[in-house]
Symmetry: C2
DNA sequence: CACCATTACTTCACTAGTAAAACACTTGTG
DNA sequence: CACAAGTGTTTTACTAGTGAAGTAATGGTG
């Protein structure tokens, strides 16, 4: 079954002419992930904008919301695949908007824990639902079987790259 | 066959507790693409740095190199999934480094075409090979079958999102 | 041809991200 | 216990990206 080529197939063909001996097979996965990610981000970021959030803010509030309890900046870094400096900035700005707050960690004074506010939870709940809807629309060109196939493969890839997700550290019994 | 969950499965489980009626199935694809992309980028960008290029520069030189002929800024935008302002900046900086040059387009004076220099081609050839090697290492945790499966699914996704790639516009017979 | 709509690109003002440095705290070792 | 090594986070200086505005050119229409 011959398929219309996607842009990565086309690119591989071009590289073959330039450097015929080069093994470009990794592009089949990596090139496609990076490109699909860029396209999806470009399209979904505008939807988030309508909800008053950018990608960074959305990711932070999502991570906090689904964690269900306060999270350390270090853990946020890895949940969001961001640098410490980026996380610090994001937390500061959303704290100023009253969407989250910092709570001192009595058990480790190098750190504070970040907790979403009620206002923040309301905002992310709405934005998240809206985002899911937009995602579904973007995936509408694929049938269920195709979506499940790529989802399974991507899960393999993530496990291969990251291993299994670390459980959240135990919440201290008292935080003030 | 029950698999160790990846972070997106875990996240979906968390959302199910917060909003049980929400259909989060799109996260299986979109969430994973975005996350895998972020992880891959984080890891590969350091490799590119060793070759003296950042992601933006790498993408631009790659696009030019594999095109084999001068490209308009507008086409570079879509090849790289970047805004016009970003492309302008990238072109300016790499031109200053002598890695590419701008050629006037006699057929449309709103535009110039961007051509990679010999120096630029040497640099990207080495960087590209190094990048492929790093990609292969990152994919080493997956077997061939798994890689082919996810590659196929991702190709479907890209075609669904972007359609088939536009061919390069004909090269004018004379450019000066 | 004159004029208007559209297109292609650049400029501008601002924001988000990063590595490295700085600082404070925690843990390990003798 | 004292000190060194390690860890967690923030600060800093800088860079890359963006939307909107600006500018020039092209194409369409009467």
């Amino acid at each position: 079954m011959k398929r219309t080529p996607d842009i990565i197939s086309a690119a591989r063909g071009q590289w073959k002419e330039i450097q015929p001996e080069l093994d470009t097979s990794s592009m089949e996965v990596v090139g496609r992930v990076l490109r699909a990610g860029a396209v999806l981000r470009q399209r979904l970021d505008t939807i988030l904008g309508d909800e008053g959030l950018n990608r960074a803010e959305f990711d932070l509030l999502s991570a906090l919301r689904r964690s269900g309890e306060p999270v350390t900046p270090g853990r946020l870094n890895s949940l969001m695949v961001a640098s410490g400096a980026a996380t610090t900035k994001r937390v500061k700005q959303l704290a100023e908007r009253g969407l989250l707050e910092r709570i001192r960690d009595r058990h480790d004074r190098r750190s504070a824990r970040v907790r979403i506010t009620d206002h923040g939870a309301e905002l992310i709940d709405r934005a998240f639902a809206r985002n899911l809807e937009a995602e579904r629309e973007l995936l509408a060109g694929m049938n269920t079987k195709q979506r499940e196939a790529v989802a399974g493969g991507l899960a393999e890839l993530l496990r291969s790259l990251e291993g299994s997700p670390a459980p959240a550290p135990p919440a201290p019994s008292q935080l003030e």
